[in-house]
Symmetry: C2
Subunit: 223 residues, 2 copies
């Protein structure tokens, strides 16, 4: 198909496709004349994946490129690829010199019997969250981390099982990407739904964010 | 204290404080001369909270303003404030016209016996995630939602209990904010730690993102 059809099929504007081609996020099409290229299913699938990473994952172009390089490296094991993806998609958090938070994080990892990875983005993100909770006067937040570990293991086991049951390595690697950012968004959304439900049950009040009263709905968020 | 001391104490640069004052995120200090104002503990606490929302929560100034208005409204119940916060901090996701994803989301909510809130940002975010999973060829993703609901309820109950045990209304309302974005970050971080741990155990391979091999670590993420 030509670029215009690829654009219609994948729902991505032509200028965006050209940008992705220039940035190397999409392999070049097969040239059919000096000014025209043909694209196939591989392009369409890759384009949808890139769009998902950018639009839903909120990833930068550089991070997308890292992930794609891991996907396209045939020598890279699933575990290594997963590690690359974790690093690429990890939120960049400002560092902290809060030693109490650092210790809370280390003690947490030790209690779980997990390998300590002091330089992993995930560990740094955790320490940053603990430091912030302390800064704003909510040190109790750290006390619940063990419950979070149970939740994290449940989710992590789902992630790993999901990836392992993909029928091909390609799909498994894409599964790593899917799990790595789609499911964080899904957990956050489902958790908000559950929290709203529990809060409504507890308070006995009407739901504040539904269309029926609408007053609390930010107009920009309604679309 | 003067603005310079407030800056040192809270670790926020003076120009940033002045910006927050102009934007109404921080109440004005008490004027001690035409060009000088005095700030107190209230300012310091509020400043730390604003910084946390911006730096850790990644919230926009407009969203921070909505949250602060809810915190400062004495007539607003905890449940209403929680709703306002949920809306303010919800990620803005592009809408989808994928009817299958919409139905999957509705069926999920019905299965849990939860109130259906079709216009809540959380529900829309969930549908968007389901649509994206389908678009990139991973429709199986929807099958695990019931597990996510269990996790969501566990986390939601922690959230509500945490807020309710705060000793004052002020702290309870701040607790809503803390829970609403800090704990999403904490869950995501802990889940990544757990996933890395499980992946390492399963593969028997060395951890790809630790300092010892370092090759997979994005330099920008090391700080």
């Amino acid at each position: 198909m030509r670029i215009a059809e690829l654009s219609r099929t994948a729902g991505v504007p032509v200028p965006t496709i050209k940008y992705y081609l220039r940035e190397g996020l999409l392999p070049a099409g097969e040239l059919t004349s000096p000014n025209q290229a043909r694209y196939g299913e591989v392009h369409e699938r890759r384009l949808r994946l890139v769009r998902a990473m950018v639009e839903v994952g909120g990833m930068t172009i550089a991070a997308v490129r890292d992930v794609l390089a891991a996907l396209d490296d045939p020598d890279k094991s699933l575990h290594k690829s997963m590690g690359t993806v974790e690093v690429a998609i990890a939120p960049v958090v400002p560092p902290t010199d809060d030693e109490v938070a650092q210790r809370q994080g280390e003690e947490f990892v030790a209690r779980q019997g997990w390998q300590h990875r002091p330089n992993s983005p995930a560990f740094k993100a955790l320490v940053r969250v603990l430091a912030t909770a302390r800064e704003i006067g909510h040190p109790e937040f750290a006390e619940e981390l063990d419950e979070y570990a149970r939740v994290g293991l449940t989710l992590g086991e789902l992630d790993v099982a999901y990836v392992l049951r993909m029928p091909s390595k390609d799909e498994a690697l894409e599964g790593v990407v899917v799990r790595s950012f789609l499911s964080d968004a899904a957990v956050a959304a489902v958790r908000r739904l559950a929290r709203r439900e529990l809060s409504a049950r507890h308070s006995g009040e009407e739901d504040p964010g539904s269309r029926s009263d609408g007053a609390d709905l930010e107009p920009g968020l309604e679309c």
